[in-house]
């Protein structure tokens, strides 16, 4: 009898229903950046494999990664990586039970957004 309502349960309201707000936006961005980074991982592993294979293979992979398309993809990867990095640290703070009140949560969200842009700028200047 516990399964009477199986398959006919109400769904929770989705993205189109909620008003956009910082904690929600930053949480969604965490998921998007984390999963999108697989593209960067594939590119980097390909570059390593090419370097281990020989000069010709390396030239191809290096050309792709340092072309303007590669530059755009890798720069976005750095932005996504730093964003996910900061959001992950925020997640650890939340997990410890701290920062869950609304004013603090909104500040932490802004810190992730602004911090990732700042860290990306620093990275692109140094590297």
């Amino acid at each position: 009898m516990a399964d009477v309502n199986r398959g006919n349960r109400p769904l929770s309201p989705h993205l189109q229903i909620y008003r956009w707000q910082i904690p929600m936006l930053t949480s969604i961005l965490t998921r998007i950046t984390g999963n999108a980074l697989i593209v960067s991982a594939v590119l980097v592993v390909w570059w390593f494999l090419a370097a281990a294979t020989g000069p010709d293979a390396f030239a191809t992979a290096d050309w792709v990664l340092t072309s303007w398309v590669g530059d755009v993809v890798l720069s976005l990867s750095v932005l996504g990586l730093w964003y996910h990095f900061l959001a992950g640290i925020r997640h650890l703070i939340y997990d410890s039970g701290r920062g869950l009140d609304l004013p603090t949560a909104e500040k932490l969200g802004w810190a992730c957004l602004i911090g990732s842009v700042v860290l990306t700028a620093i990275t692109l200047i140094i590297v």
Binding site: V44, P55, L74
Partner: protein, 123 residues
Amino acid sequence: MRYLTDRKRATGLGSARTGTEHHWGMQVSSVALAILVPLFVFTFGPILGAPYEEVTAYYARPFPAIVAGLTLIVGLVHFKNGARIMIEDYAEGGMRHALIIGTICLSYALIATGLFALVRLAL
């Protein structure tokens, strides 16, 4: 009078039927990545774009190679477990299984390929 403890009665309940292993695993790998990612970005970044001979000599050195290897392993295990949560949120039934299996295969394939390349560069 109940002889079962509260914990015993709670074990196995909840939609996941299992405990906190997944969450703990993500916490551990995220702490490790908080250290590894900056190290990898600032060892890999400067050498990207360098000529072939410089790259092979650079990754024959222990520190950049070990950082790259650890980042690949921990990062892709973190991806494997994190992506599973996204798949479970959006896909159902056979498609869910296929996507999770595919993600796991892709993660381990990338780890194996990356480590093979690093070992070859180091030797």
